[in-house]
Amino acid sequence: MKKLSVSLVAMLVLFSLLASLVMADNHGDMAKVRVLHASPDAPAVDVYVNGDLTLEEVPFKTDSGYLEVPAGTHDVEVFAAGTEYAAGEGVLQADLEVEAGKAYTVAAANLLESIEFVVAEDSMEVTEGQAKIRVGHLSPDAPAVDVGIIGGDALFSGAEFPSITDYAEVDPGTYDLEIRLPDGTQVLPLEGTELAADTVYSVFAVNTVDSLEVIALVDYEAAASPDEMPTTGLGTPEQSQSMWLLIGGALFLVAASGLVWRKRFQ
């Protein structure tokens, strides 16, 4: 994007024509990416995308919110915050391929010594009136777990580190959930979890097993959009005026030259 804006400045004269085309064009080819720091013993990090410092000082347990990036493959590299950038020297590097119109979560997971990316595509749709949820197991030393209703069925079974489950659609409402071992032993209660209609959630279990906690993120909330932009002008510029001036001028010239000719022939 930086390069784009620089070249746009260079094309100042063509700005109105080209820039709007380029910008609008890009809009249609954008993907959404959010970065989540889920490595419990790693320091705050800087994230470079294609060599540009894109996220600065992201601490553990925080996410960037969705960033708009052009579709395509991007070189994503993670450095301890404040480290000088050198290509290929980061603690973590990946070529991330993103498709237009899709959204992704890129989590930096595991302990620092074996830090790794966990990438998942996020859902940007939900059945009307339903809630949608998935869980991510990002606690490096925790065993495989189930997530379910306390005293009831499991919504997700056998989630292992490092993984992010598929989504499950549920009726909206308040749920008493828990993270538990497959044998039913509770690991972490998640009572009073409110899941709203038309909303998509990701719940990530992070930190080490002795201080396990969750980060709940909203992936998407549905709302309607129109098919077309509004027609936001009631007036009509005076096309007639300049047109008539031109026509009038032409008529005048014809008439004048006619007079001249007549004069000559007289």
């Binding site: 804006s5 700005f15 109105s16 820039a19 709007s20 910008m23 609008a24 064009d25 249609g28 954008m30 996220l55 600065e56 992201v58 601490p59 347990k61 925080t62 996410d63 960037s64 919110g65 969705y66 940007m124 308040t174 209660p189 009073g192 409110e194 709203a196 909303t199 719940v203 906690e213 969750v214 709940a216 909203v218 998407y220 909330e221 549905a222 709302a223 309607a224 959009s225 129109p226 098919d227 077309e228 932009m229 509004p230 027609t231 936001t232 002008g233 009631l234 007036g235 009509t236 510029p237 096309q239 005026q241 300049s242 001036l245 031109l246 005048f252 010239l253 004048a256 001249v260 004069k263």
Partner: protein
Amino acid sequence: MGLCGENDFNKLALLLTAVFLAGCTAAPQDEVSVRSAEVGYAVKAEPAWTEQPKELEKAKAVEKEKPAAQSKQAANPINELNQPGIAPETSDVTHLGVTDSGEMAVPDNGEELSWFSPGYQPGQRGRAVIAGHVDDLDGPAVFWDLTELEPGDEIVVAGDDRELRFKVHTMESVPLDLADVDSVFGYHSSPELVLITCSGTYDYDRGTREERLIVYASLVQD
């Protein structure tokens, strides 16, 4: 005598032609079209997590309903828009949906604004969209001066019992056929406000201007 007369006439013709040409260049220009040729900027968004750590530190398991709680909808989220510094400073906002042809509906007058109520509410994650006319039959309308907004300018949305402040970060004038409607009205992980009016040259065949001026602003978290 005849020669002289012809000379005089030619002079007169020249003079008249000159006057006509001068009149032509000074002919009233379509101001909206002229101004929309020069607009457009984008400010890099501030990283969202500068405000988040506080919230997330508290986000222990039991409080995890927070995302849902935040998206609670207000009964009447908006009835007034304030754009300090550009005229008119305060405008009434009606709630409208789509027209029969699928367009975002707009008020039938040049004074009011309309919020696309089937879409996101101001303050909800996603883009709340407000449209207004650039001109009406008498001349400039409510969003005539929208191009005057600068990066960082504040826009205040007032509902029944709350006020939300948004900060302008991007302005672009997009050809109608290239506008990505789903993105303009779409989901965003932080609350945004989008203001739309017409721009570009008037397309007499379509009966509307060729472009839309789109201003993006992000919520100022208190």
